[in-house]
Structure formats: structure tokens, C-alpha cells
Amino acid sequence: MATAATSAVRPSLGAAFRLTPSPSSVRISHQLLSLTRPMSTTAPLLKRHTYPGARSNKDMSKSRGQSALRRTGLRWRLSMSDDPLPKPRSREELPPVEVDPDHGLWDFFPNRETVAASPEDDMKHGRGWMVEELRGKSWEDLHRLWWVCVKERNRIATGAWERERGKMGFGKSEAQGRDREVRVTMRGIKHVLTERFYAWEDAVKLAESDPEVDLSGKGRAFTPREFLEEEEAAEAKVVDYLVEEEVAEVKAEEKAQVPPPETNVQGEAARL
């Protein structure tokens, strides 16, 4: 602190301070000097004049002279000033990172050891799902299958990047063939869903003209009208028809088998 104070003062004055310990003795020494030396017109002591409202000459910046670039350090002592700074460690000293075997990023790898799948493994695939096979599947199944396809494509892409960046060798065409089959499946899923959408659109159109369907969203959507009564009436009609037929048959039989029973009738009538 003391050295900082002296250096802040002009060097000539600092030299004067060094020669003489107290400011009062400085004044005396100047008077002595003026006596011994030949006459001079300069004032013996220049004193800064202060006037009311003058700017304070104090250094208000407490951190003047501190610079990170120049590595000056701090002007003040801190509680941790004596603590040694931590030193960076080399990579070899650090403990090995433990990777979670269930980490989600493993799903990006076709193969956990080599990352890229070998062309032989890539070739182990069948054909994609056909539209006929997908038509019978529910939306939940189709949605699940879509995500299986998306992840498989990501896996193929990751393997391709690794194979090309690491200059591992051939295998592009095998990977592309596999990718093509996955895309066939995805196209089939979209096809089936589009078909279902068209079927739904047609059903809505039909329902608009159907008196049994209520599309307003209030109450029951489908109310069958006089369905049972109509059936009964139809049954009754059928019964009537059958009865009529039977009667006609019986009449015909009677006509064929029984000879004109006039005599009998007469006899019966006679008996009665």
C-alpha cells in the first residue's frame, strides 16, 4: 500500500519525500535552500489551490490497475488467497464413464460392437408388409408398426454414416435394399389408412341421407325405425300366403280323391 501511494505522486515530489521524513521539515529545508542558494523568482513551494466546488482528486476506482490480461492479481487479500489453485487433470486420470446398458441411444445402433451392420446381416430380411396383410390390422397395430419402421430406418442411416465415415468397406447397396423394404411397409400403412379415410368419407355422405342416422351429435347416432314391426308384418304375410296355399292344396286334393259326393250326401241327409 505504501509503495502504491508513493508511485501515485509525481516522481520529483516522491524524491523529496524520500530525502525528508516529514512535510513540515520540507518547508524548513526549502527556506534553508532559498537562503543558501542565489535568489530565484520561482515560488519555493507549489501548492495545489483548491476552490469551493472543486472536483475531488481522490482515485475512486478501487480496482484500478487490476487486469486479467496482464495477470496483475488482486489488490486486496481474499480469504482463499492462500489456497492453491486446482490443476486440470489429464483424461487418463479420470474414471471411466459408466454407460447405462439401457440407454436410449443404443436403439440407434444396428450392432453394439461394430455400430454398422455387416452387409451379410443387412441382407437378412424378407419382404415388406403388403397392403392386403395390413388391411386387417387395427390402428394401434399400424401405429406401432410405423414406429418400428421409423426406428429401423434410423438404425440403417446410423450404420451407413458409420460405414462411410469410418471407411469400413462395402455394404451400401445391401443397406439400401433393406431400407427399401422398410419403406414398402410404410407406404402400405399409409395406403391402408387412406383407404379407411375414403371409406369413412363415403359413410358420412350416406349417413346424411339416411333417416335412421343422426349426425347432429345429440342423442343416439343410430336408431333403427320400426324394424321389429315390419318383420312381424312380413311374417304375418308369409303365414297368410302359406295358409292360402294349404287351403288351395286341400281343395285340389278333395277334388281329385273324393268323387262327387252327391249320393253320400243324400244318404247322410237321409240318415239324418
Binding site: 440407454h103 441411444l105 440407434f108 461394430t114 442411416a157 454414416w161 465415415r165 469400413m168 462395402f170
Partner: protein
């Protein structure tokens, strides 16, 4: 181990996302590839090649919902390739750019070591691949600089052509009755010391 224990503890990264996207996407058709990190890259960083229309929030939600991978932050950049020519001399065009994203992971992930062993690379036919690549590179280099393409007479002459031409020269000398150099005439079945015969002729 004691030095390891004395290492200063670094706080585990915590996911700070307040909420995820609300728009439901049932059939996304994007391909996202995980790329090998550069050497000395932190195990808490994972690099992805994503479609150009992806943004950071998309990747964050994608990893969270599809893979169960939690992230703390995502950085993104686009690799713009140099303009190319079609068929070397055709019109110039700009190949499609590639968007990359680097995700900061909550759980660290270390890649397996790259396969360098020739035996392990056999399924990819690495030896043949390298040979073809080398030849192709040499050919391209040759074609790029026409000054370096040697003239026809500067090509290296094959050995069989060399020996046939020399034999023809010797025959001509013989026909003119000149002295024949024995050195070049190494015919099978002929024994040594037959210089005199030729001289006699």
C-alpha cells in the same frame, strides 16, 4: 482410486425443459442418424444428422418420446457443401445441405471403439474396398491435371515388348553381317561358348 475420490464433484446435468410440444404427430417420416463424436468430445454430447426442417425443439421432443433420451440443451448448425459439377464438366449445382445437431445428454453415452482390425473388417471386404479407393483416387488425380498425363512414348514399356524389339534388332544386325551382342540373345537350349559360331558366319 484415492486420487479419483479426491476429484472435485461435478454436478450431474439436470433436464431443465419446463414442458414439451403439444402438437401430436402420429406418423413422422423423418430419418435421424446418430453420428460418432469427435475425439475428446464429452460423453455428455451426442451428434445427430437430422432433416433440414428439424429445429432444436423437434429433436428434443423426438428423443424424449421415441427414445426416452433426456437432454439439457441442443445446438444446431448446417453443413453447406461446396458447389459441384455434374459429370465433371456439366453445369454447376449446389448439393443439398446437411443439418447437424449436438444434444447435451443427462445420461452420458460412450461409443464403442471404431473397428480398425483388418480381420474384424472382413465382412465389409475392407481390403478390396481400400484398393479400389486408392486406384480411383490416383485416376482422378491424373485426370485433373492434363499436364501430368504422360505422352504415349513416355509410358513405361512392358518387359515382353522390350525383349521382342531387342531380338528383332539383333536379327537385323545379323542379316547385315554385323557383330552380334551375345548378351541379349538368350535362347533356351543354347549352351554357352557358342560365340564362335556366330562369328564364323
Amino acid at each position: 482410486m484415492s486420487s479419483m475420490n479426491s476429484l472435485p464433484r461435478i454436478a450431474e446435468p439436470v433436464q431443465r425443459w419446463k414442458r414439451f410440444g403439444e402438437k401430436q404427430l402420429f406418423l413422422p417420416n423423418h430419418v435421424v442418424a446418430l453420428l460418432r463424436p469427435k475425439a475428446k468430445q464429452s460423453p455428455h454430447l451426442a451428434t445427430f444428422a437430422v432433416p433440414l426442417q428439424f429445429n432444436k425443439l423437434d429433436l428434443r421432443d423426438y428423443l424424449h418420446h421415441a427414445y426416452g433420451v433426456e437432454t439439457t440443451a441442443i445446438r444446431s448448425f448446417i453443413n453447406q457443401p461446396k458447389p459441384e459439377r455434374k459429370n465433371k464438366t456439366g453445369p454447376w449445382y449446389r448439393p443439398r445441405a446437411q443439418k447437424m445437431m449436438i444434444a447435451e445428454l443427462v445420461k452420458p453415452f460412450v461409443w464403442p471403439e471404431p473397428v480398425k482390425d483388418e480381420e474384424a473388417l472382413k465382412p465389409w471386404d475392407h481390403a478390396m474396398y481400400q484398393k479400389l479407393q486408392k486406384d480411383r483416387r490416383a485416376q482422378e488425380k491424373k485426370q485433373k491435371d492434363p499436364k501430368k498425363v504422360p505422352l504415349r512414348n513416355k509410358f513405361a514399356v512392358p518387359d515382353d515388348v522390350k525383349s521382342v524389339s531387342q531380338q528383332a534388332r539383333e536379327l537385323l544386325r545379323e542379316a547385315k553381317g554385323l557383330k552380334v551382342k551375345e548378351k541379349g540373345l538368350k535362347v533356351e537350349g543354347k549352351e554357352e561358348g557358342k560365340k564362335g559360331e556366330v562369328k564364323d558366319e
